[in-house]
């Protein structure tokens, strides 16, 4: 009986795991961007950055959005002199630090060699709460801009510099929106190598969601620690960007609930939605999309009803242009992972022109090889 009971419990656990395989990651997302150390308690709004270190008067963040806002609470007996370093930041990003009563705190920029690494000395007030905002100039305008869409580097990580070199030729690109599968198995070493190569080769930051390869190692916990949330939403120059963790071929109900809010908040504006596994594989016989076609149809229908302007996917290592429920959709999995053959497309990325008022203006395929 004990054996049968144990088997039953095990089966139930397995069943539960199969029914909501992304639940743990969705829960873990809520903890991203929060850390304490050296008398400082830091909370990044909406978890848009991973706290890499905090303590001894230094805070280092890995930004996963162009605009970061954090709430810093300093203990009364803690040191007031702090150095805030933001890696993967927008070039030209500036720090604004102010107390809750609106008093602006002194900030001094610390020069850095890499264009996407920014650092500032800031004098925090012991016993007080400060609001820190890191953003590039014009972040709240509605001017059109261009970004790059990319996915699926995986085992081609040693060659990813070619893509960054090609990106560097286009000064108008503001950032890279990465739709998952940065690395082959999502280990700490691989993710650190990815970030090192990014900082070394790319003049612009990369904002990502995770892919199914990131969750191979410990269900993506290293990704959460080093990169950030799998599902999040941010606004840049009036355009909302939402990335979601679909790496199990589904959205967890927690993410679905978050999505409802993100969709509602930009119902009238321009909205770009990105995820790794596309809800629907344009090659239906292959079936590389969601595990349940009903779920995928329901999702794209919801996105369409809420006025999403563009959907971007990865997972399939090629380039596809199609529509889902009428929404323009692109798969741009040209990061270098085992390429789909006979498609006439090698490594590539997508250059997307978009504006808050204009919506999607143009999406162009840019070949790297």
């Amino acid at each position: 009986m004990i054996r049968i009971g144990a088997m039953g419990v095990l089966s139930a656990l397995l069943m539960t795991g199969c029914l909501r395989p992304a639940e743990n990651r969705a829960v873990r997302d809520s903890k991203v961007g929060r850390a304490e150390g050296g008398g400082l308690s830091l909370e990044v709004e909406d978890g848009l950055a991973a706290v890499r270190s905090v303590g001894s008067g230094e805070v280092t963040l890995w930004g996963n959005a162009p605009v970061l806002t954090a709430r810093a609470t300093l203990d009364a007996d803690a040191t007031s002199e702090w150095v805030l370093t933001v890696r993967n930041a927008m070039p030209g990003a500036e720090l604004l630090a102010e107390l809750e009563d609106g008093e602006v705190l002194a900030v001094e920029s610390v020069p850095q060699v890499l264009p996407t690494v920014k650092a500032w000395r800031v004098g925090l007030r012991p016993g007080a709460v400060a609001k820190l905002r890191v953003a590039p100039p014009g972040w709240d305008s509605t001017a059109p801009f261009r970004f790059a869409a990319l996915a699926d580097v995986q085992e081609a990580l040693p060659r990813v510099g070619d893509i960054y070199a090609r990106l560097s030729k286009d000064d108008s690109l503001r950032f890279i929106l990465f739709s998952g599968d940065l690395t082959e198995t999502g280990t700490r070493e691989q993710l650190l190598e990815f970030q090192a190569r990014l900082e070394e080769g790319s003049p612009i930051p990369l904002y990502a969601t995770l892919g199914n390869h990131e969750i191979i190692s410990n269900d993506g916990d290293e990704y959460s620690a080093l990169v950030g949330r799998g599902s999040q939403s941010f606004v840049f120059q009036g355009v909302r960007f939402t990335v979601m963790d679909s790496s199990n071929g589904t959205l967890d109900p927690i993410v679905e609930e978050q999505l409802e809010g993100w969709l509602a908040s930009s119902r009238q504006g321009t909205h770009v939605v990105s995820m790794h596994v596309p809800p629907q594989d344009p090659v239906g016989l292959r079936g590389g999309g969601f595990a349940n076609r009903g779920e995928s149809a329901g999702l794209v229908g919801k996105l369409a009803r809420e006025g999403v302007d563009l959907t971007l996917y990865g997972h399939i290592h090629s380039y596809y242009s199609f529509t889902n429920a009428g929404i323009p959709a692109f798969i741009s999995g040209g990061g270098g992972a085992i390429p789909e053959t006979f498609d006439g497309v090698g490594r590539h990325y997508l250059a997307v022109d978009i504006g808050a008022n204009e919506g999607l203006r143009e999406a162009s395929l840019v070949r790297v090889d």
């Binding site: 191979i216 959205l251 239906g284 016989l285 076609r293 992972a337 053959t341």
Partner: protein, 506 residues
């Protein structure tokens, strides 16, 4: 969006299905052994059995299995209309001297030392073989239940798919009994080495067949899977490669379960396919779905089956009273090979059908409707043709394609048209024992389709893998029966229905 590749998959898929059906089967003789209490119970009339000794390919009289013995080429072979390396049972029964060697049952191989020691010279022939009454007038219709009548396209004799009368060898049952060690080995490491358990049980013939099946399965997986990986699942080649890979998984999975069945089957009397199924069946029941992606859970389940000669019509409906989700599926199957279900007497249940179905599925909460059609083939193969140890079980596989349109009423300006590869395989057992009205089947299955309530498994590789489940249907009396199904993937689906049959006594 449709792929242009779908037609390319059909020739290969058809070839695979054909190869599956022409897999040769041979039989072996087995020794008699006293029945255990459990075996007696399994044969009881309450479970559809009969107290009268039957000449079935049963396990109750089995013992140490023997490898089949090829007949002496110098001996005369009767023309029975079948290309069998072994003689037909009626011929053997009529000419026992030709096929008995030193007291061994028919078909046993004398070269095996342990076999020779187990059958000392002068031992009388097995009682089972004595049950083989003179069969000078034997025909498929006269054959006992579960005996493999030739699988012919609508009765055409000498079909290329006419089976080797493998399970007839099981009539010559010798002593086989359930053994714990082979049964345990069948799980670990038997699920990796599929012939290991029967080999340990002394059933070399079955062991070789299962190892061959497993090797074939692994070979097909490699044959399809490696190019898929190397081509990055190219849209140009994915359809045939996918079909080959799935066929490999099918063969591998079937041999894995057959490995379990071969060593577990001595514990019970194997079932036989029903000699006939009612022309009309209705069912009504309840279905529960647990899927975190949907609000629905409770469903009314309705169904109907109408059986004609070669044609079978089916309709199912699933209605969620509280949520409004409605799925209706209607269509039919045309029997290309094998006996119709209405008059299956003597057949071992092997068949090949062409299927055509239409689908309507409304998702009111999610705000879309699916309308589509499925076309494909479904084949069933009596595993007794692979080995007599597998008598009472069958393998099933299907392949096809679905075209579906997704419609979004309201402000959504555009729908989608999608294709889908349909593929399933399963391993089942006949539940009836040939006596009484009890008849039915149960099958463990894998279904690759992703548009059902079960959908696919939400895995590390996204949504590639389909669902797994157990399906059973049985008529308990001439008019009443039950049907049930449980499948698991990213969702859990359970269904239980009451079946009402009309015309079952015809």
């Amino acid at each position: 969006m449709l792929s242009a590749q779908s037609p390319r998959s059909w020739p290969l898929a058809l070839a695979l299905v054909g190869a599956f059906f022409v897999l040769p089967g041979r039989a072996q003789a087995q020794d008699p052994e006293p029945l255990s209490a459990f075996e007696l119970l399994a044969r009881s009339p309450q479970l559809g059995g009969s107290d009268i000794p039957r000449d079935l390919p049963g396990r109750a009289t089995v013992g140490t299995p023997r490898r089949p013995r090829m007949p002496d080429a110098s001996l005369p072979m009767p023309d029975l209309g079948m290309q069998s390396p072994l003689p037909a049972p009626e011929w053997r029964a009529a000419s026992p001297g030709l096929f008995m060697s030193k007291g061994e049952p028919v078909g046993a191989e004398a070269s095996s030392p342990e076999v020779a020691s187990a059958h000392p010279e002068g031992e009388p022939a097995s009682p089972s073989s004595e049950l083989l009454a003179p069969a000078s007038t034997a025909s498929a219709a006269d054959a006992p239940m579960g005996m493999p009548a030739p699988l012919t396209p609508h009765g055409v004799p000498n079909s290329p798919l006419s089976p080797v009368p493998a399970s007839t060898q099981a009539l010559l049952d010798s002593s086989r009994s359930f053994k714990v060690v082979p049964a345990a080995v069948a799980v670990v490491p038997g699920l990796l080495f599929h012939g290991l358990a029967p080999a340990l049980a002394g059933d070399g013939h079955t062991a070789r067949r299962l190892f061959a099946l497993e090797g074939t399965g692994l070979g097909l997986i490699a044959l399809g899977g490696v190019p898929i990986a190397l081509t990055g699942a190219s849209r140009r080649t994915i359809a045939p490669l996918y079909a080959v890979t799935l066929a490999g998984f099918s063969v591998f999975g079937i041999s894995a379960i057959a490995n379990l069945y071969s060593v577990a089957s001595p514990a019970f009397d194997p079932g036989v396919p029903a000699s006939s199924l009612p022309p009309l069946e209705f069912e009504m029941g309840y279905q529960y779905v647990s899927d975190t992606a949907f609000d629905y859970d409770h469903f009314v389940s309705l169904g109907a089956v109408a059986r004609f000669e070669e044609v079978k019509l089916e309709a199912t409906a699933r209605l969620s009273p509280n949520e409004g989700n409605t799925q209706v599926r209607m269509g039919g199957a045309y029997r290309l090979l094998g006996e119709p279900e209405r008059r299956r007497a003597g057949s071992d249940g092997s068949s090949l059908d062409a299927e055509l179905f239409g689908l309507f599925h409304r998702f009111p909460t999610e705000g879309f409707t699916v309308i589509g059609g499925d076309v494909g083939f479904r084949g069933r193969y009596a595993m007794s043709r692979v080995s007599p140890s597998l008598a009472g079980s069958f393998a099933e596989a299907s392949i096809g394609m679905a075209l579906q349109g997704y419609s979004y009423p309201g402000p959504v300006s555009d729908g989608n048209l999608h294709s889908q590869l349909l593929y399933s395989f399963g391993y089942g057992v006949w539940l009836g024992r040939g006596g009484g009205p009890f008849k039915g089947e149960a099958m463990l299955f894998y279904d690759h389709r992703k548009d059902g309530f079960a959908g696919g498994v939400r895995t590390l590789s996204g949504g590639v893998v389909g669902s797994f489940g157990l399906r059973a249907r049985a008529l308990l009396t001439e008019t009443w029966g039950v049907a049930g199904e449980f499948s698991a993937s990213g969702a859990l689906v359970g269904r239980l229905a009451l079946v009402y049959a009309l015309g079952g006594d015809e």
